[in-house]
Symmetry: C2
Subunit: 327 residues, 2 copies
Amino acid sequence: MNPPMRITVLAGGVGGARFLKGLRKIQDVEISVVVNNADDISMYGVRICPDLDSIIYNLAGVSDLVRGWGRADETWQIQAELARYTATETWFNLGDKDFATHIHRSFALNQGSMLHEVVAQQCATWGIAQNILPATNDQIETQVILKEPFEGRSSIHFQEWWVRHRAKLAATAFEISGIEEARPAPGVIEAITDCDIVIFAPSNPIVSIGSILQIPGVREAVVHTDATVVGISPIIGSSPLLGMADVCMSVLGLSTSSVSVAKVYGSRGNNGLLDGWLIADSDSNRLAEVADLGLLTAAVPLLMSDDNATLAMAEAAIGLVMKEAAI
Amino acid sequence: MNPPMRITVLAGGVGGARFLKGLRKIQDVEISVVVNNADDISMYGVRICPDLDSIIYNLAGVSDLVRGWGRADETWQIQAELARYTATETWFNLGDKDFATHIHRSFALNQGSMLHEVVAQQCATWGIAQNILPATNDQIETQVILKEPFEGRSSIHFQEWWVRHRAKLAATAFEISGIEEARPAPGVIEAITDCDIVIFAPSNPIVSIGSILQIPGVREAVVHTDATVVGISPIIGSSPLLGMADVCMSVLGLSTSSVSVAKVYGSRGNNGLLDGWLIADSDSNRLAEVADLGLLTAAVPLLMSDDNATLAMAEAAIGLVMKEAAI
């Protein structure tokens, strides 16, 4: 019997969560997940980690599948009361159960716990078998540089841009505050280095996977790992599977296509990161372009319409670069 | 027309709140309330002010009248989630709406607001016309000195003793941490000095009114005010109107009766605090004892069974010491 295949996934929130629910159906694998936390934000004195919570709630089976974020069977008392006290409408919806997560996390952090310790405790609480890691324990926050000042500010927090303004304020760049001093959380570099395969989940290549890669040491670990590295396109045709990755691509002057994202990551043979790149079956006419970048590639259904479809997609991604793998 | 009578009440939580709902029905008065905050406590990183919140919720008309504390139409999601994360049962019940108050307050305090500013904003939010003041902006906490150590601790926070142990752990004293350095909140001394009458609400004489009086400067202000000072017995026969004042009296070796509480406060003619002391009609056989202490006194119904009964009681307290008042 072979030892279990060790898979390390770099992931953002909702897309990453959905991918992991399929991936974990593969037998005999050990899964580590490095989760973006550059879009974390503090509100009302609590620290909110949207991508980590999306992944944890989904793997715990307690996420709201219709709304796409937050907890199922949620109530909204706290938010209504806070709006009353502050006389402002909140643009970031926080349910009561979700708020409890933030209160617990913030209390632990203020008591001196590291974020990765809080995450490990959350995962233990929910019985999550996968090794979930925040990309960093340091407080980093993506700022959106605006073309025109908004309310006197030349840049705003990514969440405000994304959630409050639905990414409609013209932007010119993303900058992550605190990124230079940030260090990968304990276990992150080892997870990338000591595994058989690194997978870039079909998450936002700029503000999710891209933010993880900007943490000093992470890109280098991916470049130098002995593992094979495969990515799954978050773009089908010219539209993101989920979210608004297309808008983030546009801000940077990039076209929105699976080939364009592949170029952002680049091939390892060409100073890039990827060995393989999985694109949508409907994009099969672009397979040659991907191959020309020096990447192994295939075109398969990417819609993640249910966990079994996602499982098949995950198997295809692994099969692309691990022909011999017993999956 | 006379100017409005200025009344300043020293008050604890539930008993104080109920008293104020009657008192405020008097026409043409300006009411200030100095509220005990020595039984405040921090839990899960938020600052909880039980007496202030009881008074504010009651005056706002949003308190739970059956349970006696907290908000009406309350839900309990946060508490259940926190119990899940911490794997401990909570002994201090915090509803979701109530939690929002604590989150809002804690956030404001951490941003640099003073407690009296937060209280003023809460009162503005709820349209409360009375001038509600925390006794102090400083963090003071009543500690219960135990006869025998509990879980290795020789003293515990008053709330843990009161709520978790229902005051059943044998105690020898109460000590207020931080009391020496505490200062009255802005407006407290002025409210006591610049008024026509000071009323001690029928609140716990040891851990509510007593704690307010221990803040340096407050007792002196009551002693020296030109206002008349009248108290309402929180004890009927040998039982407290509300709460467990009898237990606190016993800890200090005091018997539980309206006369005993009157002696704790003392008469102004005899280095004490009171000009008058209102006792229950059922305690009328003790009127002579109260009078012998040098106090104006009367025996009237003290049950505060509804706001009109409480109004009559408040009018009797005022009438005791302000014969000429146009009430």
